[in-house]
Symmetry: C2
């Protein structure tokens, strides 16, 4: 094949970022449902509707400390009320015996029978068991949170497929869902390859570096409440094939970092092919992360990211996170965006994931490029907050333009 | 005291939100430093500078699979190079013996001695051990990530007092920090009070409700990587006093929910006073959450939030989170903001924490009010994303205005 034809075919085989994401979103999986303790369900995805087991509030609830009276007595001109008793929160409902009296009521208590107005302590004087009012008018059910005002018994309070956060935890507790149905998490194995990699606690030889991508990935998956496992395999085709075969049996998802490009020891695509993993694309029109390989074997999903740290990082956020959210039943559409604060030039005909620092002004999200020295600059990630996704159809990006944003802080 | 004078003194004793926050920020504490495994340090605050133990990259690193040649040979017109060997990643540096030859090089490998240009496989043909080039010019050190280009040995890669996320985890791994110094977390006890409260798995009597605030608080603190403990105490002054006394001994922070207002069983301020906890303010010019009580006893910090669910929720985010960040050495200034999408009216002379739903348009963060039925509507939190902080000095808030934002999703 001539050089020119090869260049041509090279262009042809690049998958656009949009197409790659579309393919991935068509390859979601379900991992079933499990019931867990509600207090452990933070960050998980709800797999049942949460229904109000009673009205919200469940009774006419006093919302100020003070006295409860009958509006009718007040409206007849009465301004002094004999206290007949106290209605604390957490006690059975009292009944006011004499409609000209009052009952002292506490926030959270049931409104006593035969009363329909609460007047806060700030507006009364109580002396010798007589409450004197300092008000000219009252409104029926003032300072009363009426039964069922917020929600009625049987209302759906939280819909299935909601990401559980503190707000949902509170509602789950309120309706007595001590256990709750959530989506099971995929079992994920993160594999690094490459003879140049040594362990974190090792001192590398001059030609070696320490493993880091797998740990970055573990951390990025922890944000999704996935406890991933990790492994390292040397660049040996037979060993790779055996280990990956067993990982395909034991895990739902394999994520690789490295060995997917054109190098003589980039065995991953070949080995995956040998093991019957179908390639759905290889090489994406993006920087960093061009050699990204994605495939499936039955229900098993394989993300093989290139080995450079920044490409692994952004690819995990862009592709794996999207796949995960969609698999879980959440919206996978990224609606985050930011405004570029300076002109930017990027020549290659690739989608560029530009590292940016974010700040807010006038309610706008502003993204300032953090220019690293290359796509492999891991330390640069520390100084940035997000990636701005610059499209592949042009080279000049202008201050003030809005682009999709992938936040990682 | 007359009614009018009491009203006056009531106004006087309300602390503004700004003042309350200022007082709280002056009451931060240090909890020391501990060394933990780097892979467990997500979400913790770094308490040492992280230094590059070598240059980044540590050697002239090949960044494309292909061949390495000497630029000089190319510039003399040579276009065919005999391959002298292969330089894989993770192998000691080769030396090219003949300056007219080439060495095949893999991404991540050391650039062989006597070579200074890498040409990717896409631009060459290799036949019978001879690489033929399809290029007209080369640039010295093209496709080579030069030693120390990103960072020099000794550079600070991550500053002390940084919140550790996936990006930092990668850097920690790279420089061999298998253990890392982080700020110790405060020991926090979250206490609910109130006879109306029953456990989550109980069926409440008509006048009871289930405990929920403490679990919401647990979840909000989990976001800060704090594993808080919880307790429930009935409205009995003596029991309260005994238990709170022992909590003051065993914990750094107590957070209460409820029993801080004017009710006959709102014993918390009195009991805290009896136990020598100094009140720094009681009652804040805000809704929800007006009866908020804050105090200190030595190094122990006490946040006593009112019992309604939404006020507990927003107060934790506004006050406890700020106190925590500042205590840990992070910036505690909330720089988030959003644009109100519709006119809003709020009459009381109080800072109002308005529940809002967020979305983005044109790079702007837009906040749409989610109007609940009162400050106690927990279920409403599920439908919102954040609180917009409307100042206390006016009643009309106009579409398009920008206000501080407290996000919880």
């Amino acid at each position: 094949m001539s050089f020119l034809r090869r260049q041509e075919s090279l262009k042809m085989e690049l998958t656009t970022v949009q197409k790659a994401l579309e393919i991935i979103q068509n390859q979601t999986e379900k991992f079933g449902v499990e019931e867990i303790k509600f207090l452990k369900s933070d960050g998980r995805i709800l797999k049942e509707n949460i229904i109000a087991d009673r009205s919200f509030p469940p009774f006419n609830r006093v919302s100020m400390d003070g006295i409860a009276i009958a509006a009718e007595a007040f409206n007849k001109g009465q301004r002094e009320f004999k206290t007949e008793g106290i209605q604390p929160a957490g006690s059975p409902q009292l009944t006011m015996q004499n409609s000209n009296n009052c009952i002292e009521v506490m926030t959270g208590a049931m409104l006593p029978k035969n009363t329909d107005v609460v007047i806060q302590y700030e507006l009364i004087d109580i002396e010798n068991g007589i409450a004197k009012l300092q008000v000219d008018t009252v409104k029926k059910f003032q300072n009363v949170h009426l039964k069922g005002l917020d929600r009625e018994k049987g209302d759906v309070l939280i819909n299935e497929n909601t990401l559980i956060t503190a707000a949902e935890i509170g509602v789950l507790a309120t309706v007595g869902k001590s256990k709750v149905k959530v989506a099971k998490q995929p079992k994920v194995m993160i594999v690094s390859t490459g003879n140049e990699l040594v362990g974190v606690s090792k001192t590398p030889e001059p030609f070696q570096i320490r493993r880091s991508n797998v740990f970055t990935l573990v951390s990025l998956l922890k944000k999704l409440n996935i406890q991933a496992e990790t492994a390292h395999i040397l660049d040996d085709k037979e060993v790779l094939q055996n280990k990956i075969n067993s990982f395909l049996n034991d895990f739902d998802v394999l994520i690789f970092s490295g060995a997917v490009s054109k190098g003589k020891f980039d065995f991953i695509p070949e080995v995956l092919n040998n093991l019957g993993v179908e390639k759905l694309f290889h090489k994406v029109k993006q920087r960093p992360g061009k050699p990204f390989w994605f495939g499936k074997k039955g229900s098993k999903t394989v993300f093989a990211f290139p080995g450079n740290p920044v490409s692994t990082f952004v690819s995990c956020l862009k592709y794996f996170h999207t796949w995960y959210y969609k698999s879980m039943g959440l919206s996978s559409e990224n609606k985050q965006q930011a405004i570029l604060t300076e002109d930017y030039f990027f020549k290659p005909n690739l989608t560029y994931f530009l590292q940016v620092k974010l700040h807010q002004e006038n309610g706008q999200v502003l993204a300032t490029p953090v220019t690293g020295k290359g796509s492999g600059d891991l330390a640069n990630l520390v100084d940035s907050d997000a990636f701005l996704e610059l499209p592949d159809d042009r080279t000049n990006f202008t201050k003030g333009e809005v682009f999709p944003l992938i936040k990682y802080r």
